[in-house]
């Protein structure tokens, strides 16, 4: 109804303006504005989007575009004077768009509204955060860049948060599948069913290296990387350290753990102490062998390379997150003839470890190593769970690629849209 009205109005305006040389006039004159602009809260999101919808102006606007203007209209109970600014644009064939807003403004941000708001009244409330409502305008811009008069929303719109972010549903499902697979295999292993996993080259070398250090009467150096304890690689390194120090305790070898972060030092102390206890040698534990050097990456490296040359450890373990220091350590270790075993998930450092160390655990193998070393069936079960994840990747990849290929070969918009949905909605 409304649309019809505008169409007829415009038509009569044109009729008034002169003879029906419509094309010539349309280029000169302002385009018609869109109508029925509404702003509603985007459902099931984090309250940062309002959905705008409008009806296309009479005669359409396919060649042009729309500009979206926004103003803060209400802060708490305060009405704010209007000051519309362009915040976004939409293509001419669109009739809706999601725009980003905030559901709350902090007091400091409210201050920015300057003299458009009675700040004294805001101060007096003593509040810290205020709900904020918006008004929108939309103008159509034709191909020549001429703007129409604006259409405005009738009501102040507020964005609200919902208890669940529907955009992350796919992520939730994937998380449940992955975690579920790991848990399933761990439980299966607990129930006593045998778990078969392949060997990882280099893991037997761990015990061999410890044994050799004992024979030579020289210490073992264990470097847990240079990241703090909030890094998963460092945590994984702790579980490998647990195994190394347990073996060392059995062989009566000395393990030295210099760390670059003090939190890693305290955690490593706990780990090693527990390992010595498990090996039945709690008396042999010496916490002074696990110490902090410095947080500075190269200060730590300077210390390590000096210490390696002076104390000549027989075996060196580099397990954790490494950066540039990987090669300095590996080359120094090589020059003193130590057995070197490395493990990291830092892809950039892998070539150097692969080249300069005796054994290297690559990426995921590094995380798997702790499971192998512990030898407990539950830990091995978790590896099977990870494999489910890989199967998932392969399946989705193959399906996605086949769909994309089909879409491209058949030039079918429907399939292409399905691929876009898979990529941009399900996999983000």
């Amino acid at each position: 109804m409304n649309r019809f009205l505008i169409v007829s109005l415009t038509a009569s305006a044109i009729a008034l303006a002169g003879p029906p040389q419509q094309t010539a006039i349309a280029q000169e004159a302002k385009p018609a504005p869109p109508s029925n602009l509404t702003a509603t809260d985007h459902p099931w999101d984090n309250g940062e989007v309002l959905d705008l919808a409008w009806d296309a102006p009479a005669g359409g606007n396919a060649d042009g575009e729309y500009f979206i203007l926004r103003t803060v209209a209400k802060v708490g109970d305060q009405i704010v004077t209007h000051d519309f600014k362009i915040i976004d644009s939409a293509p001419g064939d669109a009739t809706s768009i999601g725009v980003e807003v905030k559901h709350h403004l902090k007091r400091a941000a409210v201050r920015q509204l300057g003299d458009r708001i009675d700040f004294e009244a805001i101060l007096a409330t003593g509040e810290y955060k205020f709900t904020v409502g918006y008004l929108f305008q939309i103008v159509s811009v034709n191909a020549d860049g001429v703007r129409s008069s604006p259409a405005q929303t009738a009501e102040i719109a507020y964005a609200t948060m919902q208890p669940f972010d529907l955009g992350r549903l796919a992520l939730l499902c994937v998380t449940i599948i992955l975690c579920g697979a790991v848990i399933f295999w761990i439980r299966r292993a607990r129930s006593g069913k045998p778990i078969k996993v392949r060997k990882i080259a280099g893991l037997e070398a761990v015990d061999e290296a410890v044994g050799r250090a004992t024979e030579m009467g020289r210490p073992i150096l264990y470097v847990p990387g240079i990241q703090d304890i909030n890094e998963i690689q460092t945590i994984a390194s702790m579980t490998i350290l647990s195994h190394v120090s347990k073996t060392a305790a059995e062989y009566d070898a000395k393990v030295e753990v210099p760390t670059s972060k003090s939190l890693v030092m305290t955690t490593a102390r706990e780990t090693v102490q527990a390992a010595f206890l498990a090996a039945g040698r709690p008396d042999a534990y010496n916490k002074d062998l696990i110490y902090y050097v410095t947080d500075e990456q190269f200060g730590y490296v300077a210390y390590l390379q000096g210490m390696m040359v002076r104390e000549k450890p027989a075996a060196c373990f580099y397990m954790g997150a490494f950066f540039a220091e990987s090669l300095i350590l590996a080359e120094t270790g090589n020059s003193i003839g130590a057995i070197q075993i490395a493990g990291t998930a830092m892809p950039a450092q892998l070539p150097f470890f692969v080249a300069a160390c005796d054994y290297t655990l690559i990426g995921e193998e590094f995380f798997a190593a702790s499971a192998y070393l512990s030898g407990s069936p539950e830990e091995l079960g978790s590896l099977k769970g990870q494999d489910v994840g890989k199967v998932f990747v392969a399946l989705v990849l193959i399906i996605g690629v086949l769909m994309a290929t089909a879409g491209s070969m058949l030039d079918s918009p429907a399939i292409k849209e399905a691929v876009e949905y898979l990529k941009n909605t399900l996999l983000t």
Binding site: K106, R107, A108, R111, A170, L171, V174, T175, L178, C179, K196, V197, R198, K199, I229, N230, E231, I232, I235, L263, T266, T267, E270, V293, T294, D295, E296, F298, G299, A302, Y303, G306, V309, P347, A348, L350, P351, F352, V354, I362, G363, E365, L383, K384, D387, G389, K390, V393, A394, L397, I398, V401, A404, G407, S408, M409, V419, K423, L427, T428
Partner: protein
């Protein structure tokens, strides 16, 4: 004096003679640093609120200024920064001497570095984390009156930040003779929180997004709408590469038969990846050495002058011979 000590003495003497020779040729001290005085006038009324900042400058500017006005005070020779350049140069050489063998000079540099850097990070941690993010949250007024007058006046007390304070204190409990086990609580908290956080963000950011980036048609058409063989081949290689590498990481099967062959292909892809990483890394490392040597030749020995810092005729290596 044993053989290695003699070698060190000889190296030291050669170095000293070369540096002295360099100084003779230029007929003035090398490694000099100059500054530009920038007066700061924070408060017209109060004399205490006026001071001078010294910014890095160059001999060229200094000489130009002196030629114009011999009594100028804007550009100055800086004694402390000249010393600094010499110390930096010597420390650079001390560290590099480790390449010949471990020696007392390296140990000296190493000890200084450990001490300085540990303290450096403590200071940075205090002023840029503890003050704004702990004190600033728990007592914004106090921090504003003391060290951060620019702190937003709307900042309010955020009692939530008592949690890291308490956890921190529990952590430090380890220093006390008894009850050190309490420090396991904050450790467990950190590890738990970050395990949860990393689990979800890795699945979100790396796992899903990499699958997403991997989806591409194997049949590519170019802008004219006809089949593009090379672009298609590229995508075929990409998908084969990703899948075969994934097979390598499979733990459930031994690498035998078809799986073994696919895994092998995966290793080949990874080896090319490693080769690329190696090539690029070498590139970066050499640039790092270049900047150190440029410092020695330019700022210290004044052998080269790529940025026009000096008026004095530059003696290039070619000129020496």
């Amino acid at each position: 004096m044993n053989k290695s000590n003699r070698l060190w003495v000889i190296l030291f003497i050669i170095g000293a003679v070369l540096v002295a020779g360099r100084m003779l040729i230029s007929q003035s001290l090398i490694g000099k640093a100059y500054v530009q005085a920038v007066p700061v006038n924070a408060d017209e009324e109060n004399e205490d609120h006026k001071w001078t900042l010294y910014e890095q400058s160059s001999q060229t500017k200094f000489n130009e200024a002196v030629l114009e006005d011999p009594n100028q005070t804007k550009y100055l020779f800086s004694f402390s920064r000249t010393i600094g350049v010499w110390i930096a140069a010597l420390l650079t050489i001390f560290v590099l001497s480790f390449l010949i063998r471990d020696n007392p000079l390296y140990k000296f540099a190493e000890s200084i570095f450990i001490g300085i850097s540990a303290a450096y990070w403590m200071v940075v941690g205090f002023w840029s984390t503890v003050v704004p993010n702990l004190f600033g949250k728990l007592s914004p007024d106090m921090v504003r009156d003391w060290a951060m007058p620019g702190l937003g006046i709307d900042e309010r007390v955020e009692l939530m930040y008592i949690v890291p304070l308490v956890l921190g204190l529990m952590l430090l409990w380890i220093l006390s003779p008894k009850g050190g086990w309490i420090s396991r609580w904050p450790t467990a908290f950190i590890i738990g929180v970050f395990c949860g956080l990393r689990l979800i963000t890795f699945i979100h950011a790396d796992f899903l997004s990499q699958i997403r980036n991997g989806i591409a048609p194997l049949w590519m058409v170019d802008s004219s709408g006809s089949f593009d063989f090379w672009e298609s081949l590229r995508n075929v290689f990409l998908i084969i590469g990703v899948l075969s590498c994934l097979v390598y990481f499979f733990f459930s099967f031994e690498h035998k038969g078809i799986i073994g062959k696919t895994a092998k292909l995966g290793i080949w892809f990874m080896m090319i990846t490693f080769g690329a990483a190696f090539g690029y890394t070498v590139m970066g490392r050499i640039a790092l050495l270049a900047i150190r040597l440029e410092f020695l030749f330019d700022d210290w020995l004044w052998l080269i002058d790529p940025t026009g810092k000096r008026l004095e005729a530059v003696i290039s290596m070619l000129g020496l011979f």
